[in-house]
């Protein structure tokens, strides 16, 4: 196999749909054996990206190699090495779960026996044995996703593309899906998954690529992204509302930056670098000014905040069409 260090290498990918510029030159690399999370709000271009990398769409510009093969010129070689579980489950609704998997096996030219055997293995692994004889139309969302994933794994492909694998799943099914994905990667599979959920990218991905309106706006590990956006924050809740102004002065002395003040909750927030040392500094200043605190905490920004800083909006709010209205974090979790 030609697959070296990189399972996916895309360079300057472009795609237009009429007037819509779905991708405006996206670069993306995924190291073999890792999970890359492609994170972005609705319409960012995630599905377009996945469809190009899985040979379903031809890019208008740029190039991409998957498992070492060009997705346009060597599409057939690519198809032998990938699995795809799309945003819309690619299963045949009028076939039973078992027949779906057997059909895929036959299309890989497994013998009838081998295809049946492989189907049974996968049904077992994805907890579908009981439902195997029923047609997929009657499956729940979670079962359908599992069947779809099973179908994409029939040939045990080295590179797997998962387009929003947990959208629409209840929390338990979502955890189950995460578990499955982790197992696959532990077994050596490379995974590119798209998601709108920051938490999912945070928990699952080795590396996160954030895209918005067809462009990469940030890339790195979850920690790196959090750091680039502004390190840590210290929250202080002052006991006596009358001392808020004094506390603000104290914090300004400790951190150098202008603290954010929320009078109603008596909360002050400053961005700091230096972690615990900064926290000690704040404590000392408060103490020196004789200010009592109800609560004092050092925390890293959430990916939600990272996303907000990067894009100027929070993904979940965009999903509900509230793009310009509320730049604050009020709506987040």
């Amino acid at each position: 196999m030609r697959m070296g260090d990189l399972a996916v290498e895309a360079e300057g990918l472009q795609k237009r749909y009429g007037q819509t510029h779905a991708l405006r030159g996206v670069d993306l690399t995924v190291k073999s054996g890792t999970i890359c999370g492609l994170l972005g709000p609705n319409g960012a271009g995630k599905t377009t990206m996945v469809r190009i990398l899985t040979t379903l769409l031809t890019p208008d510009g740029g190039q991409a190699r998957v498992a070492g093969y060009d997705v346009v010129r060597e599409a057939e070689q690519v198809r032998y090495r990938i699995g795809l579980a799309g945003q819309q489950a690619a299963v045949d609704e009028l076939l039973t779960g078992r027949a779906n998997l057997e059909m895929v096996g036959r299309l890989y030219h497994l013998s009838g026996r081998a295809a049946r055997q492989r189907a049974e293995e996968l049904l077992e692994r994805f907890d579908l044995v009981e439902a195997a004889g029923r047609i997929a139309k009657g499956y729940s969302g979670g079962m359908r996703r599992r069947l779809d994933l099973a179908a994409s794994l029939v040939a045990a492909p080295p590179v797997l593309f998962l387009d929003e694998p947990t959208t629409g799943l209840d929390p338990r099914s979502r955890l189950g899906m995460w578990e499955i994905i982790r197992e696959l990667v532990a077994g050596g599979t490379t995974v590119l998954l798209t998601t709108q959920y920051l938490e999912e990218a945070d928990r699952l991905a080795d590396r996160i690529v954030v895209i918005d309106t067809g462009q990469v706006i940030a890339a790195g590990t979850a920690d790196e992204l959090k750091t680039t956006v502004g390190g840590e924050q210290i929250d202080v809740v002052v006991r006596d509302p009358a001392r808020l102004a004094d506390a603000t002065t104290a914090l300004r002395r400790a951190g150098g930056e202008e603290p954010q003040v929320d009078a109603e909750t008596r909360r002050l927030t400053i961005s700091v670098t230096g972690g615990v040392a900064a926290l000690t500094g704040v404590l000392r200043e408060l103490d020196a000014a004789g200010i009592e605190a109800d609560d004092l905490a050092l925390r890293r920004p959430t990916l939600d905040e990272v996303f907000l800083r990067l894009t100027g909006h929070v993904p979940d709010q965009i999903a509900e069409g509230a793009r310009e209205e509320e730049p604050a974090l009020a709506g987040v979790r």
Binding site: R51, T54, T55, L56, L57, E76, R79, Y80, I82, L84, G86, Q88, A89, A90, V91, D92, E93, L94, L95, A99, M103, V104, R106, L107, Y108, H109, L110, A114, R118, E121, I135, A151, A155, A156
Partner: protein
């Protein structure tokens, strides 16, 4: 998982063809399996033609004179066969448009299978269905008095001509299905195009009495050649008047020729569309 061996795709042309056929059969099996889940799909090829046989036999049967004499019902049956075979294009068009809307098409397109297999599998499955339809109509025809008079070989040849024409119709339907956005549109377009085709022909009435313009259209209509070929091969009446049109004078050759031409046009066009299509 350790024992899993995925065979590598062959490079020799003949072997590749064998694989393409195997892929098509896999898809055919899938389509036929659908019928078990949705048996209503068979109504098109069973109940509908039976109703046509009965309606035409009893309503028109008394009013229409077959040129050269003979029973109208014997004249009618080849027409009904051919009409029903023509409507196969609509079934296929709807099936293809449906397939293209469904998520499963992404699965097919991301697998290393033959590109043509999805379409070939659809047309072969639909053609298989229509064999059932022909059997039902023949039985119904036998009940109302239709017979094939020229022995087994000619009778089989007659059905062979029909099925070849049917195969051409499935590819016309595939092209329609690949050209529209929804199954409903496929249905409408198929019907609007094909319904007149089945009537401006020698299917239900002799062409002799038609106004010149219509008569010429009817006589050169590929469907008329197919109907005439069946009448000839089954030994049914209605062959006394053939007009000046070559296709009606040599109906078997003409029908086979028309079918091959239609296939030569619509197979490549459809496969090309499939290659470039994205799910809509």
């Amino acid at each position: 998982m350790s024992a899993l061996q995925i065979p590598a795709r062959p490079t020799a042309p003949f072997e590749r063809l064998r694989w393409a056929i195997a892929d098509s059969l896999t898809v055919t099996r899938r389509n036929l399996a659908h019928i078990r889940q949705v048996p209503e799909k068979l109504l098109d090829v069973t109940i509908q033609p039976v109703i046509f046989v009965l309606l035409f036999a009893y309503v028109f049967g008394s009013a229409i004179q077959v040129p050269g004499g003979g029973s109208y019902r014997e004249f009618l049956l080849p027409g009904i066969f051919a009409q029903s075979i023509t409507f196969l294009a609509i079934t296929t068009a709807v099936g293809v448009a449906n397939d293209m809307q469904k998520g499963i098409i992404d699965r097919f397109r991301s697998l290393p299978m033959a590109r043509s297999a999805v379409l070939v599998g659809r047309t072969v499955a639909d053609l298989t269905q229509s064999v059932l339809g022909l059997l039902v109509m023949s039985a119904c025809g036998l009940v109302v008095g239709w017979r094939a008079h020229n022995g087994v070989l000619d009778t089989l040849a007659g059905f062979g001509v029909l099925l070849l024409f049917g195969f051409a119709m499935t590819w016309l339907g595939t092209f329609i299905g690949m050209s529209v956005r929804t199954p409903e549109t496929a249905n409408t377009i198929g019907f609007v195009v094909l319904f007149p085709v089945t009537f401006i022909a020698n299917t239900f009435v002799p062409t002799q009495g038609m106004p010149t313009f219509l008569r010429l259209m009817a006589e050169w209509n590929p469907l008329s050649a197919t109907v005439a070929a069946c009448r000839q091969l089954f030994g049914n009446p209605g062959m006394a008047y053939t007009g000046d049109a070559w296709p009606l004078q040599h109906p078997v050759e003409a029908s086979v020729g028309y079918s091959l031409i239609l296939l030569a046009i619509f197979i490549p066009l459809s496969v090309l569309r499939y290659r470039t299509a994205t799910t809509r």
